[in-house]
């Protein structure tokens, strides 16, 4: 029994009335994304993302296995997004057939795996017999809405941060060098998809929404848990910095005008750019922290002093 979270009538009325008057409970504007905090652990590919109270942890790992028979030149890549009751009692352990959980898993899958964000051909070691299997384990620690957005950032930041052990191939023989012997190598990332979720509210009655042309529906970005519980419709747009739409999912819900949906995509692009830059920035900072002496060793430094 997954306990459903319930929200009281007075609280839901308060929240909706506030939205009608252009206010959100946490004081954000309608199109403001929560501040994303990205923290890396000691190991490569260990990332914690915090967005407001939402907290997601992602751990990337890899091992050598046999590739699929029908795809001998490709490595394996798997994303696991299993929920546990830690994120809230509404999630049941080991049961991931809940509608929302299926949608989360599918959207992450489409955004990251199907869009080819990770170069899986680069994971091939010996065609047909050996390849890398990369695994991303996403753990939801605290739920305050925006799981899709947060886990997508977590997986991408994790993949960018991860290093796999260096290998040497002699014919069929593969030697894996421990991390302390040889500098590990990063994964091939082809693009960085970022998910942005929009929530729709209908301030008027259903008929006005379907027949009318006022288009007065309220659109907010990055809803919190309470807003998620009360919303009438949801749209998740996944974009990358190359102005490509990677995935769009508006699985039913409140019918929305096509032009306002386009407007959402455009807004999402600005956020995508911002978050991608942020990921690059924290990655650079982490790299510096890990390798304090890199500056001393580079030839650039030598030239500066002379």
């Amino acid at each position: 029994m997954a306990k459903e979270i319930e929200i009281s009538n007075s609280e839901s009325k308060f929240l909706l009335e506030a939205l009608r008057q252009n206010y959100r409970l946490d004081g954000r504007s309608f199109s403001q994304f929560r501040d994303v905090k990205i923290a890396f652990g000691d190991e490569y590919g260990d990332v914690t993302i915090e967005m407001g109270k939402t907290k997601v942890h992602c751990r990337i790992s890899c091992q050598i296995t046999q590739p699929y028979e029908d795809r001998p030149f490709e490595g394996l890549f798997l994303i696991s997004t299993e929920n546990s009751p830690m994120a809230g009692p509404q999630f049941e352990n080991g049961n991931n057939t809940n509608e929302d959980e299926v949608l989360i898993a599918r959207i992450i899958e489409k955004a990251v795996r199907r869009s080819g964000a990770l170069d899986i051909e680069g994971l091939c070691i010996v065609a047909g017999s050996k390849c890398w299997a990369v695994r991303a384990d996403v753990h939801f620690l605290n739920c305050d809405g925006g799981f899709i957005d947060a886990s997508c950032i977590a997986v991408m930041a994790g993949l960018l941060h991860f290093r796999k052990p260096d290998i040497t191939v002699h014919g069929e023989q593969v030697i894996m060098h421990p991390v302390d012997e040889r500098e590990p190598v990063p994964l091939g990332i082809l693009h960085v998809p970022i998910c942005v979720t929009f929530s729709f509210f209908n301030p008027m009655d259903t008929e006005e929404n379907i027949k009318g042309d006022t288009n007065a529906e309220i659109t907010i970005i990055d809803a919190t848990l309470k807003e998620e519980l009360l919303r009438d419709g949801v749209l998740t747009v996944t974009l990358n910095k190359n102005r490509e739409v990677v995935q769009v999912s508006k699985a039913g819900g409140l019918p929305m005008d096509a032009l306002s949906l386009m407007e959402c995509c455009r807004k999402a692009y600005a956020i995508t750019e911002e978050i991608t830059d942020k990921i690059t920035y924290v990655l650079k900072k982490d790299e510096k922290r890990r390798n304090k002496f890199a500056d001393l060793l580079t030839s650039e430094n030598a030239r500066e002093t002379s």
Partner: protein, 246 residues
């Protein structure tokens, strides 16, 4: 493998259509009057879909009772023989199918006047006999027809269609060959409006092309709505004629 010419320089597609032409669209309703309260059979190109609506009826278990509105349940059965090569597994509990069902339920939840049928269950069963691309759109059309046949109150038609994007040319109503060769967008449009109830993009599309693709899609969906409307009206006329002749 020889490369197929998806869109020839003369402006013809694999099956001889122009970029803005729909596939053959044939539908009939009340095809299974004894098995269900409303039913439809739809052929959209080579997609062949049977939709059965059962209800509003008494919910099978106590936990399904909602005192405010009807419960909508949709199950999609993609038959193992629906593609050229027989699939080894039944698709029942695949995540992809679960996702489709959820999307369909959430689309029709907002369009069917569920509040008129409290404490009941509306069960929709879909059997995909053959699939040839743009299946999600066809499912929407099939459900709309079957719901109307069942006499369940709705705000408007929902018509579904997929549009592909070949380089810079949008191609309306893609078949499976086109679908595998390029990225496509699936839309669910409400009636004659420009409102989208469903919008799914599963592959990369340039952001700046989205608008044209959507525009073509909406136009195509409106055309499908008219085709469905025509079929429904002719069916109704036949029935009225039958009833009055008795």
């Amino acid at each position: 493998m020889s490369r197929l010419e998806i869109y020839s320089p003369e402006g013809l597609r694999l099956d001889g259509r122009r970029w803005n032409e729909l596939r053959r669209f044939e539908s009939s309703i009340n095809t299974h009057p004894h098995a269900s309260d409303g039913s439809s059979y739809l052929e959209q190109g080579n997609n062949k879909i049977i939709t059965l609506v059962k209800g509003p009826k008494e919910p099978t278990s106590r936990s399904q009772v909602d005192t405010n509105k009807a419960l909508l349940r949709i199950s999609v059965n993609i038959t193992q023989f629906s593609k050229f090569e027989r699939s080894k597994s039944s698709h029942r509990n695949e995540r992809r199918v679960l996702e489709m069902q959820t999307a369909l339920v959430r689309t029709f939840e907002k369009n069917v006047m569920l509040n008129l049928y409290p404490r009941t269950l509306i069960d929709i069963e879909i059997h995909v006999l053959q699939q040839d691309g743009g299946i999600m759109g066809s499912l929407l059309n099939g459900i709309t027809l079957a719901l109307i046949d069942a006499g369940i109150a709705m705000y408007d038609y929902i018509s579904g269609i997929s549009v592909g994007l070949y380089d810079t040319t949008p191609l309306l109503d893609v078949n499976s060959l086109e679908e595998t060769a390029m990225s496509s967008v699936t839309l669910g449009v409400v009636g004659k409006s420009e409102k989208l109830s469903l919008l799914l993009v599963e592959d990369k599309i340039p952001l700046d092309r989205m608008e044209t693709v959507l525009a073509i899609g909406i136009a195509g969906a409106h055309r499908i709505r008219d085709l469905m409307d025509e079929e429904l009206r002719s069916h109704a006329e036949k029935r009225v004629a039958n009833a009055s002749s008795r």
